[in-house]
């Protein structure tokens, strides 16, 4: 008797408690958590992954761990150096992701235990995961140029290859440069973040000089490579807008012509290649880089000990299960034919969307969707002159396939090969305008 009564009371109590607690749980959390995903790095790749996981399946619990509270977009940061753009237009915080239900943690990830599936932060927190997405971007190797180091990058020879304080410092140096001065840009051996970036920067610096009473100045590109992204388009624009080559404002020295920077004397502001020496008024050294430390230290950078190899179908690390590496930190694409993935924000977002589609299918017991990877990268060489490159990759038989007819650069000439016609300036103007529309859309698609 008492027993039966007790049991009924007990059941009633449970029922009461659980319905009460269901009422108090916010609706977003009401759905049962299907899986926990931790994303490390809130740049273009990581932010996109975190957002789209929540958009596509609110049943997935997403934690984004990012060191900084404010993100500064590298894309179009070359326009900040030339004074064409306010750096504020490139900055975005993490409120948008919070609104999407992402658990945003501002901390630094210092350790990952792939066996126990735990991520640990400098702040002493730890997080369990079912899947881990790493999008840590790049870290620099300051040791390849003699006389150069991290301290100098901060105080005098800025790289500005992560947008932020160094971008503004480089801008100040350009402003202080006398007419007739030389602005040196040293380019590391590829692959590096943003293949057309150094050449876009050269144009932006030349534009600044042209319009600010420094038309006698020079922009000298010391290159560790023999060619570069969108070369015919850059050379055409440089020539027409700023003068290129001997006597022009912009000069490019290929690796084959002894362009590789070997040593720098910060005191005397001298750059040395094997046989040449160049005096610079501003020296902008872009150091070689590699996958962000958090991925590299875990042993994921199996490609030349620099970049992380991943599986074409879903970006999962080739060396660790349930860890996905996206963005600048990974390598992919048809590497053998030199059609590797460009390290761009657009590509990082495309990769993020592939991982998300794959994880959402997996956690819902659905077949894996077919991946597709796309890139578009605009370069702006004057306020009314832009152009772009488009890339498309599919996956066939577990291999990346570069789709040639879905890829390519803006036209250099029109007409036929035999009778080429110049491209109307309107094309260039359109793409300069579209670059701004692209930026606002990618920032919004990743962070809001």
């Amino acid at each position: 008797m008492t027993q039966a009564f007790d049991r009924r009371a007990f059941i009633k109590a449970i029922a009461g408690a659980s319905s009460a607690s269901i009422l108090t749980i916010p609706s977003a959390h009401a759905a049962k958590t299907k899986a926990r995903v931790v994303v490390v790095g809130g740049g273009y790749g990581g932010a996109t992954a975190a957002k789209y996981l929540r958009v596509m399946d609110p049943g997935i619990e997403v934690t984004l761990i990012e060191r900084e509270t404010l993100y500064t977009s590298c894309p179009l940061s070359n326009e900040v150096i030339s004074g064409e753009r306010d750096i504020k237009t490139l900055q975005v915080g993490y409120k948008g992701l919070l609104k999407r239900g992402v658990n945003v943690v501002h901390d630094e990830v210092v350790n990952i235990d792939p066996a126990k599936k735990i991520v640990a932060t400098a702040g002493g927190k730890s997080f369990d995961y079912d899947a881990l997405i790493l999008s840590p971007g790049v870290d620099f190797n300051f040791g390849t140029v003699e006389g150069y180091n991290e301290q100098l990058a901060q105080t005098k020879l800025h790289h500005a290859w992560k947008a932020g304080p160094q971008t503004l410092l480089l801008k100040k140096q350009l402003e202080a440069m006398p007419d007739g001065g030389t602005f040196i840009i040293a380019v590391p051996k590829g692959p590096f973040r943003c293949p057309p970036g150094p050449y876009e920067r050269a144009a932006q610096v030349a534009m600044y000089c042209k319009h600010h009473g420094k038309a006698k100045s020079k922009v000298l590109i010391l290159d560790s490579n023999d060619s570069f992204s969108k070369k015919p388009l850059f050379e055409q624009a440089w020539k027409e807008l700023y003068g290129y080559g001997q006597g022009g404002m912009i000069e490019w020295v290929a690796a084959a012509n002894d362009g590789t920077l070997k040593r720098v004397d910060a005191e005397k502001m001298m750059c040395f290649t094997d046989f040449g020496e160049y005096k610079g008024d501003v020296i902008n050294i872009i150091p070689p880089h590699h996958a962000g430390k958090v991925a590299k230290n875990l042993g994921l950078a199996t490609f030349k000990n620099l970049w992380c190899e991943v599986k074409p179908e879903n970006m999962e690390s080739k060396s660790q299960k349930d860890i996905y590496v996206i963005g600048d930190a990974c390598v992919g694409g048809e590497l053998a034919t030199n059609n590797g993935f460009p390290k761009s924000a657009h590509m990082a977002m495309s990769q993020a969307k592939v991982v998300v589609a794959s994880l959402v299918a997996k956690f819902n017991g659905l077949p894996p969707p077919e991946p597709i990877y796309t890139n578009t990268c605009y370069s702006v060489v004057a306020h009314d002159w832009g152009f772009s490159v488009v890339h498309l990759y599919r996956v066939d038989n577990g291999q990346w396939v570069y789709i040639k007819n879905g890829s390519g650069i803006s036209p250099v000439t029109l007409g036929t090969k035999e009778a080429p016609k110049p491209v109307p300036r309107m094309y260039r103007k359109l793409e300069a305008e579209y670059a701004d529309g692209w930026l606002r859309n990618v920032m919004s698609d990743a962070f809001l």
Partner: protein
């Protein structure tokens, strides 16, 4: 017998679910430039969510087969199959059309209104919301995007296949291009 049909049905369901899943993956790559659900956040890039399926598919195929000029899109669609293009058109046509709120001055608005009443209303309607003759909606489309599009129509050698649109827009004065764009852009409903 029955089992066979069920298996077939399941198969069909699975393969169509796959197909849908795949087009979602492809369509999400468009969001980089056209926004989530095809609602653009960049003033120079068009919103495409909610435009008619036939229009979307026609435009993309014209680019693919070099029958229409574009600065970027023509290269993007070249690597897609006609079926993918149709599926993308269906995907974006099913999204709601979201006009973006945009500001303009009273004087520009009045100038735009006068110009469109005379030249554009027959096909695009007084607010751009009720188009005819195969024209897409342009109420609350980004004004800057539309002005650039009109510039394409105005370049004589640019291949924009709609003859009447081209003729009408080439008649405009340069000073009327922004007002008409801003007028239609400001129709926030």
């Amino acid at each position: 017998m029955r089992k066979g049909i069920l298996a077939l049905a399941l198969c069909w369901w699975a393969s169509s679910a796959m197909a849908v899943g795949n087009i979602d993956v492809l369509a999400r790559t468009c969001n980089n430039c056209h926004g989530l659900n095809g609602v653009s956040a960049g003033t120079t890039m068009p919103s495409i969510g909610g435009l008619p399926r036939g229009y979307l598919s026609k435009i993309m195929k014209e680019w693919k087969y070099d029958k229409r000029v574009a600065a970027t899109m023509n290269r993007i669609v070249k690597g897609l199959s006609d079926d993918e293009i149709d599926a993308l058109a269906t995907y974006f046509a099913r999204k709601p059309w979201v006009p973006v709120p945009q500001k303009t001055s009273a004087a520009t608005y009045a100038k735009g209104k006068a110009t469109i009443t005379e030249n554009c209303e027959d096909c695009h309607g007084a607010t751009g919301n009720d188009p005819d003759e195969g024209a897409p909606r342009i109420n609350g489309q980004w004004a800057e995007y539309m002005a650039l599009e009109l510039e394409k129509y105005r370049e004589e050698e640019f291949l924009m296949p709609h003859r009447k649109m081209k003729k009408t827009v080439r008649k405009l004065k340069e000073s009327e291009v922004y007002p008409v764009s801003e007028y239609y852009g400001a129709q926030n409903q």
